[in-house]
Symmetry: C2
């Protein structure tokens, strides 16, 4: 398991996806940087996310807001008082730990949501001592995970780095409601950074102190939202769900939309679970058995949520199902908090009523999604290592090679490269054997490679090779752009392009 | 002038481009949020920037790195010691001011780069008192503009919010050099946030405490870079430049590339000035007379630069030429600083030598560029208000309207909308008179509008209207996507589409 993590991280570092930040100075715990391939993969994930989720409504938009927020706004949202973990410090070596993690390490059961008194009792009963020096642990205390920032020449204006992008949306709700001509539902999304001063970042790229979120807040009229959605059209669709004790097993149950609504979940909520599951199975191509929704109970869920399922993907590098997102019914928690603290009326006119909109939040960790793609995609079989990324997400879509560095092949391959580059992420390579060049492209997830060879000089056809099957066909060089576009958009399948040719 | 600023900001707030953040709680000085149209405009600017500047080399890539950096790395870069402004605090009301701004307000000349002793002397000689309460000003002192952040449960790891994106690139130089197979020149760019705790943010959206930068760092071998570039092909090109005292006047001189090189500027540097000027004049369509490079002398330029020209655009809302970017020859300042502090060798093999690469930085303020586009584009003529954005940057590219809300026109217009939406930023509107709908689109910069009318029901043609000329032509509805694509890509001109029709 640790070894699987190391394998994925090793590929990631070597080829330029993602790596621990500031290694030049010995690292910076909880911080990661994206290299040139990772930045491209991340951007493509963001574009796919935006197209899928903003496409759910014609009144859904991206906005972009500041990452530093004044204390008053985060007091109103509840984060100043409630956004805490439980901190335990060793009386001897002064090292700090998360109380729930200390307990989980002994019991192998989730301990999130315990009070300080409960953590102290468990530490006493289970005789837990400092994992580092075996010293006696001090009393536990709540620890706010937000990073404080002092603004102004004397640092006199108290502020924090935002712990979630969502608050930027709530603060701008009224202005956007006016600019968008007063319609509900209204969807406002932010893709951007958030910050949490994790007590002990662990599991490498999973629990970061600075991370990227993609969050869509849907503002709606709770009296009517469910009835305006085409819920009936998805009633028979099956969702992979783990509730209550089920989520401690590495499995999920298949439950229909109708079942889940009958069990008491709001129809609008289950409808959006369908759209989230489709994003993972159809767009990101996560295998069905590796996807599930896991429900959080009252103790576990975030303080602002009424209904809360994590979106989880099973990853071998992280030991099983891990959270990559969440579906959060925040009710009017945030708008009523801000209305109270600011003294401003945030309700809006709907027909002849005034309504304080409710909010459904679809929240995703961008880094966690990128890591999941690397984890699920990376395969080492014998001496071949391949990254099976969905073609629409691959940082390089097509590699272009001359078979030989002579006879005009490089010029022909470079001309194809220049033609394709404006529309595709293309990469030209003429160094090393053709086998080495294919191997380099396989390892970064490039779905297609094109080779210019002797036959090209005669009839203009090139060899087109598919990453996953290693199958090769000959196609006219002049049709390459159209064929690639069709393959990427799913309008054609590789095997329909013709009969395979023998490999060089 | 103030009124011009207010006019642009008023449009910006009303329609959803950009506005002061956290207005719900009375504002947050130095912070701005992007609404749904501004976020789209900004994204398009970033995409245009990326295509233009990463297209300059086949070894140029985007990366993405953390915004919190540990103190050791910013000590090495010189920011802990040198990234300061001069702070003056009133002895009576305790308000703080920038020393150079206090002096500039009296002398109307730039005072950046003065020492604390010089500021104290000027304040004494010019008898400057507190602008707020007329009290006596205290002695000046250097003030570091970085925001400190404490990382870890006790805040024990000293860090800062990054004051520029550039350091993220320098810290990752060696890893990317390996991942990109050891080639120079290598270009690494970051588009992301940076933070400066400005003493007194002023000029609204111009001097922000949290802002967006787009920066490209080009690493090169100083012995050969100039000779590898096609400098000869641009020798006759004319650049708009203000040097020395010239920059205090609101003008520029036209100087050829050959002239500037003869005057002693490095050839590689002037070559890149050409590429920056082309971006502004050709891509962003800034009028030539509103663009210039302004040279900073030894006192004024940033501590890491050997040659430093600001990129400036004349904006009526900001009182004239204002910085929107810079061309910075940073030499090996950063890599040698990090090599020394980390004890690691950052030089790289080039042929049979070891070279510590030099860096040319092309740096741009994204928010400042977005504001400049709003400033240059916004025109109020009589009762018509129009935002003349370049079509490729417009947040909405085409508006689709039924002339009447009956006779099947809405269905026809909506069908066109659904067809166009996957490929274009399209907007459907059926409320209000057709004139009002055009006016709403003019004001947000939408270059084209399409109306479905009685004739459409007969022959399938629609009215296509151009924002800037208000000219209208009839085109087949089925050709709309192709025509719009050609107009946006500059392959066709509107007036070549046919003879104008009478306006409704």
């Amino acid at each position: 398991m640790a070894s699987r993590y190391d394998d994925v991280m090793s590929l990631s570092v070597r080829r330029g996806f993602l790596w621990p930040a500031v290694d030049l100075y010995g690292g910076f715990s909880g911080f990661y940087d994206y290299g040139h391939l990772g930045a491209r993969l991340k951007r493509k994930w963001e574009d796919l996310w935006t197209a899928h989720f903003l496409g759910l409504g014609d009144n859904y938009y991206l906005i972009d807001t500041t990452t530093i927020l004044p204390e008053v706004s985060l007091k109103a949202s509840g984060h100043v008082d409630h956004f805490t973990d439980i901190l335990v410090t060793c009386t001897k070596c002064k090292e700090s730990f998360r109380g729930d993690h200390l307990i989980e390490a002994v019991t192998h059961e989730e301990a999130e949501g315990l009070t300080t008194a409960e953590v102290d009792a468990k530490i006493r009963d289970l005789k837990i001592r400092c994992p580092k020096c075996k010293g006696e642990l001090g009393p536990s205390r709540p620890f706010n995970m937000m990073f404080p920032v002092g603004v102004g020449p004397l640092g006199q204006d108290r502020a924090y780095l935002r712990p979630e992008t969502a608050q930027g949306v709530f603060l701008n709700f009224k202005r956007e409601f006016e600019a968008l001509r007063r319609r509900l539902p209204m969807g406002l999304a932010i893709v951007g950074r958030a910050y949490r001063n994790e007590i002990s970042p662990r599991q490498g790229a999973y629990r970061m102190r600075e991370f990227l979120q993609a969050e869509l807040q849907i503002f709606f009229d709770p009296a009517t939202f469910g009835t305006t959605l085409p819920v009936d059209s998805v009633k028979g669709e099956s969702l992979r769900v783990a509730r209550g004790a089920e989520k401690h097993a590495p499995t999920a149950n298949e439950r229909t939309v109708a079942d889940l609504i009958r069990d008491g979940l709001p129809a609008f909520y289950v409808y959006h679970m369908v759209l989230v599951q489709r994003f993972y199975l159809d767009r990101l191509r996560v295998p069905r058995e590796r996807f599930r929704f896991a429900e959080l109970d009252e103790r576990e869920r975030a303080f602002y949520n009424k209904v809360h399922f994590d979106v989880q993907v099973a990853q071998d590098s992280l030991g099983g199902f891990k959270e990559v997102g969440g579906v959060h019914y925040r009710t009017d928690h945030d708008l009523s908090g801000h209305a109270l603290a600011s003294g401003k009326d945030l309700s809006v006119p709907v027909a002849d009523r005034k309504v304080l909109p409710h909010v459904l939040e679809l929240s995703f960790g961008v880094d966690r999604n990128v890591w999941a793609l690397l984890d699920l995609g990376y395969e080492v079989a014998g001496d071949r290592s391949v990254l099976h990324l969905p073609p629409s997400l691959a940082p390089v879509v097509v590699g272009l090679f001359p078979l030989l560095s002579k006879q005009g092949m490089p010029e022909r391959a470079e001309a194809l490269y220049r033609d394709l580059r404006p529309g595709f992420d293309a990469f030209y390579d003429e160094t090393g054997s053709i086998g080495k060049r294919y191997a380099r492209m396989d390892e970064v997830g490039t779905p297609y490679c094109v080779t210019v060879d002797h036959t090209t000089l005669g009839d203009g056809t090139v060899t087109l090779r598919e990453r996953d099957t290693m199958g090769q066909v000959r196609v006219p060089g002049t049709s390459l752009a159209a064929i690639l576009r069709d393959l990427l958009d799913g309008r054609r399948e590789f095997r329909a392009l013709g009969s395979p040719v023998s490999r060089p």
